[in-house]
């Protein structure tokens, strides 16, 4: 799963090993303003000339429900990717999203329902109508060149055709706009280009899951 998260989705763009060896890489590092690594940040690179070459069919991805949480909490996919939502819990879930990028609802289910195709770029916020505290995110990228940072705040976008890119970053708690994080990156042939972001994050506000005591009192 971690491999899946960190890889670049451009699986079908380049074919030959020679061509791959000549491709470029962007090594992204995302931290907060104090330099602390930020995990689950999605880094997207778009060719500056707008020449996107999308694969014919994006591979399926998975967002599990384990112990009444979405796993992974942040899933980055290429536009057009089908995602399945297997329920690994004993209790049934009802996954939904009201996000403009994908409005859907999977009626109460166990097991694995039919995949949902995420056909519009943007951020999709996931919820469960049974367990209100469950929140997950699907970042639907319009570019095949993207990755998600690990616990060290790092990800590598590999197999990029050499050239200029506009790179940006998104995170569920990003304080500003995604557009404000844009950077132009010159990804040279056969080289790894380092890019770093220091983001300002909003506090995470979650619906409480922990139990609380009932109130008592005699008369």
């Amino acid at each position: 799963m971690k491999t899946l998260m960190c890889r670049v989705a451009a699986v079908a763009v380049l074919a030959s090993p020679i061509a791959q060896a000549q491709n470029a890489e962007i090594a992204a590092t995302v931290t907060d303003e104090r330099g602390k690594p930020i995990a689950d940040a999605v880094v997207i690179a778009v060719p500056a000339d707008g020449s996107l070459r999308l694969p014919a069919k994006a591979p399926d991805e998975v967002v599990d429900q384990v112990d009444k949480e979405f796993l992974p909490k942040v899933q980055a996919v290429l536009v057009g990717t089908p995602i399945t939502f297997p329920n690994r819990d004993s209790v049934r879930h009802q996954v939904y999203s009201f996000s403009p990028a994908k409005h859907f609802e999977l009626p109460l289910y166990s097991g694995t329902p039919q995949a949902v195709v995420f056909d519009k770029p943007g951020v999709v916020v996931l919820g469960c109508n049974i367990h209100d505290w469950m929140v997950g995110y699907v970042y639907v990228s319009e570019s095949p060149y993207f990755g998600k940072t690990d616990a060290d705040g790092k990800t590598v976008l590999a197999n990029l055709p050499p050239g200029a890119y506009v790179a940006r970053v998104w995170h569920p708690q990003l304080a500003g706009t995604e557009e404000a994080t844009r950077k132009t990156v010159d990804a040279s042939r056969g080289r790894r280009t380092a890019v770093a972001w220091a983001l300002s994050l909003k506090p995470e506000v979650k619906i409480r899951r922990a139990p609380a005591a009932g109130q008592r009192g005699g008369y």
Binding site: S90, V91, R92, Q94, V205, P211, Q215, G218, Y219
Partner: protein
């Protein structure tokens, strides 16, 4: 006792001990049928509390205060019927040990069944719930040993991730089969109580760990107050019994009609998704017939774990 006898007092002699047993049996059957698609959780809590007016007395000389330790174990079965409807069945057992008044020590076994409906999809959709509960409360002092049943209805909604509120009404009944009359013609079942009430509550999370819940309510119905012999209270009471829990001087328990205003403030600090430490303050002010008024203050410290 040399209280004058007085007609028209209520007495309930119907045995009620089977009520919670049948209720628990019914719930167990329902739980068995719930199958693997339901969610089982086990809960445990332990804590302590202090109540400054356990006797619910007006006069300072009659007030008795004490601290107690409490513990509870529960099994909770959550079962979504549809995306909008769910049921929760809870079986629990709890006990309390008081520092000074051993007769107040108790062991309780009970069950609650609740149904909840959500009007729509999403965390902010409004909801309603109805519940029914029953318990058998076995006190070391038999006077308080009783069966309780209650029904509740509540409606609420979440306004944001960190703010929610609800309003509710309830009816509760406590059946006392043990109170012995001390005055001819007047029931001794002082803990045979019925009442109904309404409440409003709101919860706010200033941080992801801290949750603050504020609740205000009013209840109309029977109340029990303990004092030394008091003619005014006697005139207003519908049941009287000697209450040996408190030792000397001898106190008597009275059942009266009254209105109670309550307020509660709870701060709950989440240690994890499964556990929390709660601190609560409860306030109560009761007005009953013949000018009887009493206030209660209680503080609770509880550790809660759920798995």
């Amino acid at each position: 006792m040399d209280f004058p006898s007085r007609p028209g007092c209520r007495s309930s002699a119907v045995p009620r001990a089977r009520v919670p047993a049948l209720f628990v049996l019914g719930l167990a059957t329902a739980l068995h049928g719930a199958g693997a698609r339901a969610d089982w959780e086990l809960g445990a809590s332990a804590g302590a509390f202090y109540d400054d007016n356990l006797t619910r007395a007006q006069n300072p000389a009659d007030k008795r205060a004490a601290g107690a330790a409490s513990a509870q174990a529960s099994a909770i079965n959550f079962h979504p019927f549809t995306g909008s409807d769910s049921g929760t069945l809870t079986l629990y057992a709890r006990g309390e040990l008081f520092s000074r008044y051993t007769g107040l020590g108790n062991a309780v076994a009970g069950a609650t069944a609740a149904y909840r409906h959500k009007f729509g999809v999403g965390a902010l959709a409004p909801w309603i719930s109805v519940s029914a509960g029953a318990s058998y409360d076995d006190y070391r002092d038999d006077l308080r040993t009783s069966t309780r049943v209650d029904v509740r209805a509540e409606a609420g909604r979440r306004f944001s991730e960190d703010l929610d509120a609800s309003v509710g009404v309830y009816y509760e009944r406590r059946y006392d089969d043990n109170g012995e009359p001390v005055v001819p013609g007047i029931s001794g079942k002082v803990f045979d109580l019925a009442g109904q009430g309404a409440f409003v509550r709101a919860g706010y999370s200033p941080t992801n760990e801290l949750y603050i819940d504020a609740k205000a309510g009013v209840r109309r119905g029977d109340v029990e107050s303990t004092s030394q012999r008091n003619f005014q209270i006697f005139i207003a009471s519908s049941a009287i019994a000697a209450d040996p829990v408190w030792g000397d001087p001898a106190l008597f328990a009275y059942r009266l009609r009254g209105t109670t205003w309550t307020g509660a403030l709870t701060g709950s600090y989440a240690l994890s998704n499964q556990s929390s430490i709660d601190v609560a303050y409860n306030y109560g002010f009761t007005q009953a017939a013949q000018g009887l008024e009493y206030t209660t203050h209680a503080v609770y410290l509880t550790f809660i774990y759920r798995h």
